[in-house]
Amino acid sequence: MRTNGPLALIFHTLFVVFMLAPIVVVCLVAFTPEGFLSLPVNGFSLRWFRTIASYPEFVHAFWVSLGLGMVSSFVALLFAVPAALAIARYRFPGRDALAALFLSPLMIPHVVLGIAFLRFFTSLGLGGTFAALLIAHVIVVFPFALRLTLAVATGMDRSVEMAAVSLGAGGFTLFRRVTLPLIMPGVISGWALAFIQSFDDLTMTVFLAAPGTETLPVRMFLYIQDNIDPLVTSVSASVIAITMTALILLDRFYGLDRVLAGKSDPGR
């Protein structure tokens, strides 16, 4: 009874084909030698990957996305790590409410967040700036940074810290030399997952980006709205390759099932 019958395996095969088909198709079309979209693809060429280089708006958008993802997930950790330590170690009044507030960006639809941030930053005179994008992304990726740090901090053995305290360590030294190395796997995975979230976000960012601060997903989306051609598939294939690399790193460091369990919340 613990093995799958032939019917189950047929269903499973069809299911996997369904899940992978759109991604495989994008990657196949990206290598077309033709000047137009054609399926099935005849031949193989890197022509459309070379073409990306001659579209400065895609190249620029890529750097914006990369910088935004790296900085926003780092800043989110600066706020999330202390908060995670507090929530993991202390019972204090308002603890549950705080945790709920910090995880709330997962529950609020990203359209609503995009609108709220657009309204807020425009009224501050920061509309369309990189700073506005950065702060908005810090809020959106914060829950992911918090969750993964929290998971490691909760299960942490505190006897090492006690030993350090008994040897006279305190304050920041204790944190830097003992606590931080112990929670590092969670912090790194939190950073990686936060980076992916920031790098892929379209729904919120599309409200905030202006020419010059457009991220790659926003640039791709606006391009697709006008026309779909092999160029945008080669850009997509590059994005998929970047995400896959981050995914494999995450899997090695932390285990993908644990990362994804932290992602299964309403919010996008």
Partner: protein, 297 residues
């Protein structure tokens, strides 16, 4: 003696102050840049707007009355929730059996297929939806060619710019959430119960219906809540597959903000979407937890 008491009070007070000192920066960030903008958006939905005068910071119900009275909005919200519900049904019907099959695979295959099925969750939604746009692509898209060669349909079905296409693409985008949720529920199922049922003479179908299904239903339901709320507020997939005419709540709000520039009306649409989703999610969560309290214990 007094010194000892002093030290202990000091320790106790630092024990109560420490968590607040640690969470204060994040709390200030969230109040300043999340709570205040959200409140401003609620306020915005009560402001007035005109083509020439722009936004007027007054308190009126104009936008809410427009949404309540114009059938266009009722139709749009109904479409949004209909699409979300259909996508949820598809993910439940396909995702739950798949999670069950996955769970019965041996270690190595389980890991590989779990990665293949859950991995797309982290791949850009724009790229995944682009894949569907390519597969649907007009009358001679691959999906239509496949369906016709299998003899399932005679004439090509329209997928692009239709609700059918949106439902299929959304179901694909949301599928990993359902598989993940059911898979998590399956981890709590004791395989010995299945063996016991088998030893008592139960057939495969009876075991699934009487043993497995009742235990994974909470997982299916909580997966359904996630998929529904994400589908109802989805933006990229409806915008790319639905085109410029077939609007859902998220794409309509986008239009009001960035094309028409009627921010107060767009804010009202967004606030209404948020309220509806909070009500649906909180309501169904409460129902599930009451009905399946024993499973969550």
């Amino acid at each position: 003696m007094t010194a000892a008491t002093d030290a202990s009070t000091q320790a106790a007070s630092s024990e109560t102050r420490a968590p607040w000192a640690l969470t204060l920066p994040a709390l200030m960030l969230f109040v300043g840049v999340l709570v205040i903008p959200l409140l401003m958006t609620v306020m915005l939905s009560f402001h007035d707007w005109g083509q020439y005068k722009g936004i007027e910071p007054v308190f009126i119900l104009k936008n809410w009355q427009e949404i309540a009275s114009d059938p266009y909005y009722a139709e749009m919200f109904w479409r949004t929730f209909r699409i979300a519900l259909l996508a949820t049904l598809i993910t439940a019907v396909l995702g739950a059996p798949e999670a069950y099959i996955l769970n019965r695979m041996s270690g190595r295959w389980k890991g590989i297929f779990l990665l293949l099925i859950l991995g797309p969750l982290l791949i850009s939604v724009v790229a995944r939806t682009l894949g569907w746009a390519l597969l649907f692509g007009g009358n001679n898209g691959l999906v239509n060619k496949l369906l016709m060669s299998l003899g399932l349909i005679r004439a090509p079905l329209p997928f692009m710019f239709t609700e059918t296409g949106m439902v299929v693409a959304l179901a694909h985008v949301m599928m990993p959430f359902m598989v993940l949720s059911v898979w998590a529920a399956l981890q709590r199922v004791d395989p010995q119960i299945e063996n016991a049922a088998m030893s008592l003479g139960a057939g495969a179908f009876t075991i699934i219906r009487r043993i497995i299904l009742p235990q994974i239903i909470p997982g299916v339901l909580s997966g359904a809540i996630i998929v529904f709320s994400l589908s109802a507020s989805a933006f990229a997939t409806p915008a790319i597959i639905g085109g410029r005419r077939l609007k859902v709540a998220a794409t309509l709000a986008y239009d009001e903000f960035l094309n028409t520039l009627n921010w107060p009306l767009g804010a009202a649409v967004a606030v209404l979407l948020l309220l509806a989703l909070v009500l649906i999610v909180v309501g169904s969560n409460a129902l599930i937890e009451r009905r399946y309290a024993e499973v969550f214990r």
